[in-house]
Amino acid sequence: MTLETEVQSLRQVPMFRDVDPARLKLLAFTSERVQFAAGQRFFSQGDPSDAAYVILDGRASVLLNTPGGDIQVAELGSNALVGEMGILSDTPRSATIMAAEPTTALRIDKRVFLELLAQFPQMSLAIMRELAKRLERTNAQLVAQSSS
């Protein structure tokens, strides 16, 4: 797997869909490709947010820490972006991410990511658009829930 394939993966992420290919290449180049063994944690709930991850290959579970132990709330597959909210809002991790099988991910460092956003407004716009869409979806869900 080379930089090119990583760029292909990034293109599949909704948040990066509209970003210029050269910028995605820069994003990939400045990120690290890391492997997690099955059961190894990307990060734990409550950790400071230092990076976002794009899963290139493999699966990871999203775990929430409850008084009754960790419960799995979701599973992430290829091309999923995780941990981006923490680095954007500068809050601690809201969930634990654990590799469900040997998993390869692209680790996007927080500082580098924010610097790229500051440098390239077009990238920021793409992210904002995606965040707005999510908000819209959440609103729609809220409306649906309250009316049901």
Partner: protein
């Protein structure tokens, strides 16, 4: 004012020969310290004169007597050779005194004989000249050494008041540059006037003998020369003084800007600073210009006056000759003699100019070290003073401390504390607590009143006692460039306790030279640290004490990390070096057995390491010399020839092209200087355009590349790490070829005898690589998540298991702290400063703001640690408020100029697990 004893303030030297003050007159200074040498050289100069004159006379004899045959005028077949006779002058009755009648020789014989005598004199004169020049040079250098040392000794004595105004860089310029010409002059100071003076007087007497009047004329002109010229030069001296001050200030200003460069950057004051320096340079130029104008005017006038005398000789002498009162022969002889006069005169005037010049410089130098700026003499070696522990009642009476603006901060303060005690000096927001702390630490003597410890007056304690028994840690941790260890033991080096073995002859020479120039005879290679006093047997035990203290102040982990990053010297760290390979194998086993095998890719002579750069894979070692480091490697001829032999140059350049293309593509649009460039790009922001140009040239010229372009492209893949950069440039075949090339590179480098690279050896240590690399003997994988942290833990576990932690930390003690400790963080600097005080085991430790760099929790921990360690000794600590004062035995407050002391009723709510023998634990084992 409790003024300290003034010491000996006269110009007499103390036992070291270091004068209390510089001599006012340069000549007296030179004469006092070098009269013997000056007289010897002078005597030799005078002794050389007859030989010199004889060699001047010989050419005439050779021409006249041998070649033209005057000696054989009367038809004699032979003539006397080496005939020594002396013609008595007419007024002594005339006649000849024959000393040696000489050998009778033929004409050719006489020619050869005289020629060889000439050759002999040439050699003798040469030998004299050589000896005189060397002796003068050595004399000058010795005096220069003495003067520099005297000045430096005075630097150590600058009073706190003087230090407020003295600039360090100016002082450095003075000692280094300004005294240099003085040293050059010293060799000529007495010899030149004697030598030239005799010559000039001889010529003048000769003229006088020929004709008194003409002699008087010559004398009159000389008198005019010697009165007018120095007068004109007075202005020149004034300008010289200005110039010296201006250039000294220039040096001072440059150093100031450099020291405060951060402020210049922050406030974008480049323009102002440039203009500032530009203005100073203009001033310097203007002064210089004035000096030149004046100097050459004076020179021209001097030349004119020198030529005026012949004018008088021709006109007046000629007039007398025409009138018949003067013999023409005499006139010609006088004019001939006068020709001999100007050169020595001119040189004498030049010497005089130089003398004044140097005297001015000297005055400027001594003014910098003026009496009012200097404190009392510091006796380096004092008689074994009653060195009793500083315990007993500390009594202060009628203390008055004035602030910097003359206001009284403490007035009539008094207190009594039984030492040892822990005393909190609680600041009232003013300067009182700090000032009192400085006074107790003997940092300041600017107060009046009496402070006594037992029977002894604090201000009268000799420096040897205070240096040993009192320690002071202020806000500014002052560190010197050198290793952490050097800084820690700085306070233990008051005097050498043992001589290191050195070459006997070399030592005698060194000491003799030191004695001649008033320098210290101690060598810094002697053993200066008194291990016994610290309860340590040797260096190793001292290291253990230092490490234990560093650990206790919370710097243990840092030192361990410094150790891992440090380089090992197999001689100094013999036991570590021996066991390093064992530790390396153990670490590998640990990795294998705990399933961490993929965390580190080991260096294997037969395999490509995809976590390392291509350069590392090609060299399979660590560059030692600069020509093998970084970009230089691509230009190195030996390395290139090895690549050519392995036939991979072309492939690497092809990779360089691909890298350049990718980099120019993805980094396009980032502003130059962006931090991402530095962190990630192979290409610096400023090089980007150059590589773009190379790529354009290549597509235009259809693939052909210039030599420099090839070198530049080659440098790119050398820094490429497949696992990290992931450009997909390396396939298995290429990796295999690089491993093959590795052997060729080694062969070529070894054959050429180049010591530029230290190669890796799986069974040996590589001293050029950091300790960490020697342990891992591989590279941590970029691909495995959190590999670095896990590897670090495994390394720490193995180091502990093999009991190597202390050895590693000892390597860490060699970490260089940089200028003023700038390579350390503020907390690390403060910790080193603290340990430097603790290792002395002082009776009294005064802390004033030394814990400021730490956050509140750490600061409090350290305070408890100090309280615990100083249960048997005294601790004085300045506190900003009384929140933590309860832990101290005595609380000292400052109110309305008074000092109020309270004893804490139930002393110190003891911190966790107090140990009564805390201070003794210093020598214990490291955890």
């Amino acid at each position: 004012m409790a003024v300290p004893q003034n010491g000996k303030r006269d110009s007499q030297a103390n036992e070291h020969g270091i004068p209390a003050l510089m001599e006012k007159s340069l000549f007296r200074y030179i004469w006092t310290h070098s009269k013997r040498d000056q007289m010897i050289v002078c005597a030799v100069v005078l002794a050389s004169l007859p030989f010199y004159f004889m060699s001047l006379d010989l050419p005439r004899q050779i021409v006249n007597q041998a070649i033209q045959g005057e000696a054989f005028r009367d038809g004699n077949p032979t003539a006397p050779f080496l005939n020594l006779s002396f013609d008595w002058p007419g007024w002594l009755g005339g006649g000849t005194w024959e000393i040696f009648e000489g050998f009778q020789v033929s004409r050719v014989g006489l020619l050869m004989g005289l020629s060889f005598v000439f050759l002999f004199f040439v050699i003798v004169n040469g030998a004299f000249k050589y000896w005189i020049n060397v002796a003068k040079g050595v004399l000058g250098e010795r005096m220069l050494r003495r003067m520099r040392f005297d000045l430096f000794a005075m630097v150590l004595r600058f009073t706190p008041d003087a230090l407020r105004t003295v600039k360090s860089s100016e002082t450095a310029t003075i000692i280094k540059d300004e005294v240099e010409p003085i040293g050059g002059f010293i060799g000529d100071a007495f010899i030149t006037p004697v030598f030239l003076g005799t010559q000039a007087i001889t010529a003048l007497v000769f003229i006088m003998v020929q004709n008194v009047w003409l002699g008087l004329i010559a004398l009159a002109v000389i008198a005019v020369q010697f009165t007018i010229i120095p007068r004109l030069r007075r202005e020149l001296l004034r300008l010289g003084k200005q110039r010296q001050l201006a250039s000294r200030q220039l040096a001072g200003r440059i150093a100031e800007v450099l020291d405060g460069i951060e402020v210049v950057h922050v406030h974008n004051a480049y323009g102002w600073e440039r203009a500032e320096i530009g203005h100073r340079l203009f001033n310097l130029f203007s002064i210089r210009l004035k000096i030149y104008n004046r100097k050459f005017f004076v020179k021209a006038l001097n030349n004119f006056l020198a030529q005026l005398t012949p004018f008088f000789f021709y006109s007046i002498g000629g007039y007398f000759a025409l009138r018949g009162t003067l013999d023409i022969g005499q006139l010609v002889a006088v004019i001939a003699a006068y020709r001999e006069l100007p050169p020595p005169l001119k040189e004498l005037i030049d010497w005089d100019q130089q003398r004044l010049d140097v005297q001015v410089k000297y005055d400027q130098v001594t003014q910098h070290f003026a009496e009012e700026r200097l404190g009392p003499m510091i006796e380096a070696r004092e008689a074994a003073e009653a060195d009793q522990p500083l315990i007993g009642p500390l009594m202060a009476e009628d203390i008055r401390i004035a602030g910097p603006h003359g206001d009284l901060i403490v007035e009539g303060g008094a207190f009594a504390v039984e030492l040892p005690a822990s005393v909190a000096l609680i600041s009232n927001g003013g300067a009182a607590a700090s000032l009192l702390a400085r006074i107790l630490a003997r940092r300041s003597l600017e107060f009046s009143g009496r402070i006594r410890i037992g029977e002894r007056d604090l201000t009268q304690l000799p420096a040897a006692v205070t240096g040993r028994r009192i320690a002071y840690a202020g806000v500014d941790p002052i560190l010197f460039p050198g290793s952490i260890r050097d800084n820690l033991v700085y306070g233990l080096r008051s005097k050498p306790v043992g001589r290191l073995k050195e070459d006997r002859q070399e030592m005698d020479r060194r000491i003799a030279e030191a004695l001649r120039t008033g320098n210290p005879i101690e060598s810094i290679s002697d053993q200066w640290v008194d291990y016994e006093r610290l309860g340590a047997k040797d260096e190793n035990e001292l290291d253990r004490i230092l490490l234990d203290l560093l650990d206790r102040v919370g710097m243990g982990d840092t030192i361990y990390l410094f150790g891992l990053a440090g380089r090992i010297d197999p001689e100094r760290h013999a036991s570590l070096a021996e066991r390093l390979v064992e530790a390396r194998h153990r670490l590998r086993e640990t990795f294998q057995s705990s399933g961490m095998g993929d965390l580190v890719e080991p260096f294997d002579p037969e395999r490509y390491n995809s976590q390392a750069t291509i350069a590392e894979n090609l060299l399979f070692g660590v560059p030692v010399s600069d020509e093998f480091k970084g970009r230089n490697l691509a230009e190195n001829a030996q390395f290139r020839s090895a690549l050519d032999r392995a036939e991979i140059t072309g492939d690497l350049i092809q990779m360089g092209l691909q890298i350049a293309e990718t980099m120019t593509e993805i980094f396009e649009g980032l502003p130059p200087g962006h931090s991402l460039f530095e962190q990630f790009s192979f290409i610096g922001a400023d090089e980007l355009t150059e590589f773009e140009a190379i790529l354009r040239r290549r597509s235009r010229d259809e693939g052909s590349l210039k030599r420099e372009d090839r070198t530049r492209l080659l440098s790119l893949p050398l820094a490429y790490i497949e696992a990290r950069h992931r450009l997909g440039l390396l396939d298995d075949a290429m990796m295999g070829r690089i491993v093959e090339a590795r052997a060729l590179v080694r062969e070529v480098l070894e054959k050429s005898g180049s010591a530029g690279v230290e190669f890796y050896d799986p069974e040996g240590i590589c001293t050029a690589a950091p300790l960490r690399d020697n342990l891992l003997f591989g590279r941590v994988s970029y691909q495995v998540a959190n590999a670095r942290g896990r590897v670090a833990e495994a390394v720490a576990a193995v180091v502990r298991e093999l009991n190597l932690q202390e050895e590693v930390e000892r390597v860490g003690l060699e970490y260089q702290v940089g200028t003023a400790g700038r390579l350390l963080s503020p907390q690390e600097r403060a910790s080193v400063n603290l340990v430097r005080c603790l290792v002395k085991r002082p009776d009294i430790l005064v802390i004033d703001g030394a814990l400021a760099p730490f956050d509140e929790a750490r600061g409090q921990q350290l305070m408890q640690l100090l309280l615990e360690m100083f249960e048997q000794q005294s601790l004085f600590m300045v506190l900003p408020n009384d929140r933590q004062a309860g832990d101290f035995g005595v609380q000292m407050r400052f109110r309305d100029g008074q000092i109020i002391t309270d004893k804490t009723a139930a002393p110190a709510s003891k911190p966790s697990t107090p140990e009564p023998d805390a201070p003794q634990r210093i020598t214990g084992e490291v955890a």
